[in-house]
């Protein structure tokens, strides 16, 4: 009986009660919208962090003394190169510049394609510099009395990585950070065989007990933990979403047992089979839920990646980083998971009571 007329009839019946269905559509869509937006923001931040991590070596080491960080030098590089399994050790320069006027630290990172007179800043930093009338150039004050003036060559979008960063070449970075030619902030250790990373991460502290050794799998785990969507604030959000979802389901079930009870009985009495009634209900609710699901997905993509998630972003980034943009991601696994946990229970909550009513005696239902 699943033909064009049947479909027409289903849709007409749906439109007849559009008030009821619109309510479900809006509530259901809103729940999906909130959950998807939160997941998109957290996944996007995580992806950015992991992409940045992929550009580093397999192990990062930092020098510490009494818990404070100290620079490393070429001798450290030469010693670490002697460890079997290490293919290369790359000295990296980074650090923070104290912008005392605004009581704020800017991160200084290296981009060797820049010349000695220019720098690239993020939108967030540019906004701050503009407030202090540094629109085209900026003066770095290098104690005791030196001044280094750099032109703002470019302003880039702020991501979670670059929002507080000024890019300069290595030579200039060393001047700003007052580091000697053979000093490094941290070392990237390249270990080609991933099975050996753990072993080498254990060997290094035996050579340099004061080193902080961070294998990439540990940093990855830290990032995962930071935006762990099964715990903390995410859990509260899910519980709220779930409770609203269940209230919605309860509403649907009671409506099936209430006003819809007679409708099903009438349909049965005019010759609809049980299968037809289930198909009818399935078509109606499938249109509502899937429609709501895709609308919510589109809205949340636009909300997060076009409008940069106003309000929700503050949960993740705080008030300060206003210009951060989220890098668009597409995670099919996540979307399928949301579909399974929302659309499927919703449909089940309609179809099971409908089926139970359909198999009841028609005269009983009409009473």
């Amino acid at each position: 009986m699943l033909n064009k007329n049947f479909l027409n009839f289903s849709v007409k019946l749906l439109l007849k009660e559009k008030g009821d269905y619109l309510f479900s559509f809006i509530i259901f869509g809103f729940i999906i919208f909130i959950v998807t937006s939160v997941l998109l923001i957290s996944e996007s931040i995580k992806r950015d962090l992991l992409v940045a991590l992929q550009n580093e070596g397999q192990i990062i080491v930092k020098n510490t003394k009494g818990g404070r960080y100290y620079p490393l030098n070429d001798n450290h590089i030469d010693s670490l190169l002697q460890v079997s399994g290490v293919d290369d050790v790359i000295g990296k320069v980074d650090g923070y510049y104290n912008f005392a006027q605004d009581r704020r630290f800017f991160k200084i990172a290296v981009d060797d394609d820049l010349n000695d007179t220019s720098m690239v800043v993020s939108k967030d930093i540019y906004k701050i510099l503009k407030d202090f009338k540094y629109e085209k150039e900026f003066n770095f004050l290098i104690p005791p009395k030196n001044k280094l003036t750099l032109q703002i060559k470019d302003v880039i979008d702020s991501t979670i990585i670059s929002n507080n960063t000024i890019f300069v070449n290595e030579y200039i970075a060393r001047q700003i950070l007052q580091m000697e030619e053979d000093e490094y902030s941290y070392l990237d250790i390249v270990v080609p065989n991933s099975d050996e990373i753990e072993n080498i991460a254990l060997i290094i502290p035996r050579i340099f007990p004061n080193f902080l050794v961070l294998p990439n799998y540990e940093i990855e785990a830290d990032y995962d933990h930071l935006y762990y969507y099964k715990g903390g604030i995410f859990m509260i959000l899910y519980i709220v979403a779930l409770i609203s979802f269940f209230i919605l389901l309860k509403n649907q079930i009671s409506s099936v047992y209430g006003s819809k009870r007679k409708e099903i009985a009438i349909l049965r009495s005019i010759g609809f089979s049980i299968k037809d009634i289930i198909s009818l209900k399935f078509i109606q609710n499938f249109l509502v839920t899937v429609g709501a699901y895709f609308t919510a997905l589109m809205l949340s993509y636009a909300y997060v990646f076009v409008f940069n998630a106003p309000l929700l972003r503050n949960i993740f980034l705080g008030e300060i980083e206003k210009e951060v943009v989220f890098t668009p991601i597409f995670d099919l696994k996540m979307l399928v998971l949301i579909f399974i946990f929302t659309v499927v229970p919703y449909l089940a909550s309609i179809l099971i009571p409908s089926w139970r009513l359909a198999i009841e005696d028609v005269s009983e239902a009409m009473k």
């Binding site: 030098n73 070429d74 190169l81 079997s84 399994g85 293919d87 000697e180 030619e181 050579i207």
Partner: protein, 358 residues
């Protein structure tokens, strides 16, 4: 590996402070050479002010260390006047009357066993009190340099292979005008000219890397240890076990037989195949993947660790290494039983039998 770690610990105990102990500002040092290569070691072209406290002078040539002096004299004891920097005053003094402190905690130059000289015995004693070591005269220090020489060369070669040549090549191609290396008679003059043509290179370490790369690899055609990776397709299967090799890139082995390339998913299967077809195979055309670097190496010269706790796709494996040092350190770290050579495994039937029994 344990001895190696002890050695590296020894090398690095003095490195808590970021700046190198040997370095001084060039204004505070004495540099006797003239011309463009005034500030470069005659033997290795390293920047002399950076290693000033271990500088030596012999026959109007300035060297960054006793190691370089020994190297340039090919081990002969210098017959004339030798001068060395007094660590206390930073002035050159007669090396033959100086007091050398050997083996202190302070990092040496070109050696794992540091050697610093003092004019007065009391200064040397005070240094020993602070940083340890033993006070000796010039000849004894020279003798120690001789004893350390091979080990020092090995450490320096490792650094060159792993870092210097790669860095040098990259910097040269990106930031330097091209030079004709054959036109230079000394490494120091090459470096002096490179300073002129590599204007965007500011760090001495980068310039030194370019110099060593051009001198050793381009001029002297030094052969580098690796030649890329073994290339295979998704269709290649191991003839012994039938497994696809692309799934196990860390273990791929390959041999060429009659113009055809045969791939294996591990060294063990490769040896089984070779033992079966011993007469047909040219051992020079057999390649394995170095476990640490993932690079293609010649199987004939590789070292194989037997009985370790690292398993390949077919269980227990012979784990291949280019360097014997790496093989030994891996054996110790991963509880290996022995390190074998290629021919040893093929000729000694017991080894394959032992492998079956593991």
């Amino acid at each position: 590996m344990f001895c190696r770690i002890i050695l590296i610990i020894f090398l690095s105990t003095c490195m808590l402070n970021a700046k190198m102990f040997q370095s001084v500002d060039k204004k505070n040092g004495e540099f006797i050479q003239s011309g463009k290569s005034k500030y470069y070691c005659s033997n290795c072209a390293m920047y002399l002010p950076r290693y000033y406290k271990t500088n030596h002078i012999y026959k109007n040539k300035q060297y960054c260390s006793l190691h370089c002096l020994y190297d340039s004299l090919k081990g002969k004891i210098p017959d004339g006047d030798v001068k060395v920097v007094d660590v206390k005053s930073l002035k050159f003094i007669d090396a033959k009357k100086a007091y050398y402190v050997v083996g202190s905690d302070k990092m040496g130059t070109m050696t794992y066993n540091s050697k610093y000289a003092f004019k007065s015995f009391d200064d040397a004693k005070e240094f020993v009190k602070l940083y340890g070591g033993k006070i000796v005269n010039f000849l004894e220090a020279y003798e120690t340099t001789k004893e350390d020489f091979l080990k020092d060369i090995e450490l320096l070669e490792t650094t060159k292979e792993k870092k210097t040549y790669k860095l040098g090549k990259r910097v040269y191609e990106k930031k330097c005008q091209k030079v004709d290396v054959t036109a230079y008679e000394s490494i120091a003059s090459l470096k002096a000219d490179l300073k002129r043509v590599c204007k965007r290179v500011r760090r001495d370490r980068d310039l030194q890397a370019v110099t060593e790369y051009l001198w050793d690899v381009v001029k002297k055609n030094k052969e580098l240890k690796s030649f890329g990776k073994i290339k295979y397709t998704k269709k290649d299967k191991c003839p012994i076990c039938g497994m696809f090799v692309y799934k196990y890139p860390k273990w791929v082995a390959m041999l060429e037989l009659g113009g055809k390339k045969i791939y294996f998913d591990g060294v063990k299967d490769m040896f089984k195949y070779i033992i079966k077809n011993r007469d047909k195979i040219d051992y020079d055309k057999v390649y394995v993947t170095d476990y640490f670097s993932g690079k293609k190496i010649e199987a004939l010269f590789a070292h194989y660790v037997f009985g370790s706790n690292v398993y390949g796709p077919m269980g227990n494996e012979f784990v291949p290494f280019y360097s014997e040092k790496d093989a030994n350190s891996f054996r110790k770290d991963h509880y290996g039983i022995a390190v074998y050579g290629f021919l040893q495994i093929i000729e000694d039937k017991d080894i394959m039998e032992d492998m079956k029994e593991l």
